[in-house]
Structures are given as C-alpha cells and as structure tokens.
Symmetry: C2
C-alpha cells in the first residue's frame, strides 16, 4: 500500500523552522540544535554528507533516519526548501542541495515561478509545479509507482497537506528544547489525530519520536 509520508524535527513547542539565521551562520544556532541528533546519525552522515567513514550514531534516531530514506519514490517540497529564496532571480540556480542531492527520486517543487525547465542532477531530478496539494500529489504518486511519496517541507507545505487530509504517516522527532519562535507545525490542526493511531518512543539522545499512522 503506497503511503504519503512526512518526517520533521520539531521543538517541544512545535517549531519546525527557525528564525535566527545570519550571513555568518546561514542555518542558525536553533537549527543546529533542532537537527543535532538527526545529523549525528550514521545514516544522515552517509546519505546526506556522503561521509563513508562509518561514523555516527546507530540507535533509535538512526532507525528513524534510515526509515526516512526507505521506499520513497517521489518527493514534494516547497520553494523555500528547494532554495529558491536564496537566489530568486538566477535562472541557473540549482537549489542548495549540491550536485548529488540526498533524495534519489523525482522531486516536485511547488512554486509560483513554474513553468520552468526541470533540473537533472546525480540521482535526483527537480520538477517545478504551480499546483494545489492534490494536483501535486497526483503527479508525485504517478512518478513514485509502487513506492511512497514524501512531503519534504517546509512546514507550511506540510501543514497544507495535513489540512487537506492527504498524509498517511506523520513522524515527528520532538527535540526537548523550547524555541519560542519560528514556523509552527501544529498551528490550526485541531483534531488531526482522528483517523490516526499514534505511537511514541524516546531515543538515547532524548528526542521523542511520535508517529501518526492511518
């Protein structure tokens, strides 16, 4: 059964994106704290950093890290996650995921700048769509074949898909810190739990993994 999946790291107060970026620290200190446990996993180091040293954690966080990459046939993301906002006017800009992005699947980028030509990189092709969540999902499901579709982010895109009832599995890694500001995942999602079963477990790092499954 093909599923539409979301995986996000959030703070205990529900923030999935951070606002303390500076030119010197383009991700910001909050982002580093929010993703520390995930970035420390063996899977993240291998899959995203192309680190072949074999180092990294192998506990509960890594199990979720591995699951993140398994069985995904296509991904949908917002313009911000692709990186449009960093170089809005450069038609040659390929986003900030590098020459070999970690997706290894077709990625559908939601942007009002579409139509624009697709970008083919090593293992990943980015397509650009101006579409509703439902329309984008239909395109991604078709591309994914018998595999799952991931709604990658950012948080407002994820919320749009959750509100539209299009997500089958939502996994959040809740980091026990309070950010107090940023993009909130839970805003306006009253009653989301109905129709899902919810399970949770705590990793060695202290991250609480909560999963909503239909």
């Amino acid at each position: 059964m093909v599923a539409v999946r979301v995986d996000l790291n959030i703070s205990l107060d529900g923030f999935a994106t951070t606002t303390d970026q500076t030119p010197e620290n383009p991700f910001g200190e909050d982002w580093a704290r929010l993703t520390k446990a995930y970035v420390s996993t063996k899977t993240f180091r291998e899959r995203v950093m192309h680190d072949t040293s074999g180092e990294g954690t192998t506990g509960v966080d890594d199990r979720y890290g591995k699951a993140y990459f398994e069985g995904i046939g296509a991904e949908i993301m917002g313009a911000g996650m692709f990186g449009f906002h960093d170089n809005p006017d450069d038609p040659g800009w390929q986003g900030w995921w590098g020459d070999e992005p970690p997706f290894h699947a077709p990625v559908f980028v939601l942007t009002h700048r579409a139509p624009r030509p697709s970008i083919e990189l090593v293992g990943t092709t980015f397509h650009f769509l101006s579409a509703t969540p439902r329309e984008a999902l239909d395109r991604a499901l078709e591309a994914a074949g018998d595999q799952d579709v991931r709604i990658g982010g950012g948080v407002s895109v994820v919320r749009d898909f959750l509100k539209a009832g299009l997500v089958d599995q939502l996994h959040v890694g809740i980091v026990p810190i309070l950010l107090g500001r940023g993009g909130s995942l839970w805003q306006d999602l009253r009653g989301l739990e109905s129709g899902y079963s919810v399970t949770s477990e705590t990793a060695e790092s202290g991250v609480i993994h909560v999963t909503f499954r239909r």
Copy 2:
C-alpha cells in the same frame, strides 16, 4: 533538598486548559480527553475521587500520579483553579474541590480579592494572597517545612513561576491529541531547557511523560 514542582497534562500542541466548557458539560469534552489517562489511574481514583474499590490503571501513568501526591508540603494555585470565577460574589464559596480536597496541605490561592479569611476543610486549608510569585513561594516554602512546594496551576500561574525561574521540576504528561486552542503552556518560554536536564518516557496509554529537572 526541597523542590518547587509543577505537574500538568498538556496536548501535543501545548494546551493545558480547554475552552469547550458548556453548562451541560462544565469541564468540556477536550478536558476529558486531556485528563483521561490520569483520571483512569488507581491513584487519582483513590486520592481525588475517594474511590476505595481498588480499580484503576497501575502502569506508568499511575507512577506519575503517585509521585504527584508524594512529599508535597504546600501548594500554590491561581484563583481560577480554586474556583473563584464560578462564584465571584459569594463570600461563603469554598471553591469546587469539595469538603475533602485532594491536597492535604496548606494551599495558597493567588487572588487580588485578598485579604480574606482562610478556609479550613478536611486536611486542606486554603489561604488567600495577593502577592508576587516570589512572595507567594516564600510563604509556601515556610509552610512546607522540609517538603516540596507544588505550583498547581492554572497554566498562566505556572508560566509566571517558570518565567521567574522558580521551578525546579516540571513534569508534563503530553497527550497525543491536538486541541488547537486553549491556554498554552509553552508560550514565551524560549530557552527554558537551559539549566535543566530533560527525560521522557511513554506510558501504556500513549501519554508521553516529559520531566525537566534542575
């Protein structure tokens, strides 16, 4: 070492109080869902409901339920938790905790209606103070002797004490539901975690128990 403690049930989106009360259902459906696991424990049934049948859950939730009542020498609560708002003009009103409230310790109620005479009930005396968090805590610590002080609620009172840096141990039972509205615990508490260690575990009921300890 005497500690200042807080215990609250909150939703996954951080709401500790609910807003769907009606005359027919004075606590509201949301409140029932927020407290269901706690109200089901053997300890709650014995201590709050005076139910001597021995029924109720005895797992992880009950362990936290028991800890809630252990070693508390005094409690501080807001006017709303005492019940002032229900009968604001009745000088004989004794709050809505019944003839034998579950506290079994002196309770200091923060209210701008003070001074007013204390109310002595079975095992619990309510005192009324118009005071800052620090002043109220000094009174409660004196009354508690070598035992702990609990900041009982409501959520805005708890937030005042957290912001003032007066809480040594914060336990939240996070219920995996999204309420979307109500009194938010986490609002304006950025960085609360610093100075605390944070642990968590999941109960059989699905409630995630998170504890901040100094």
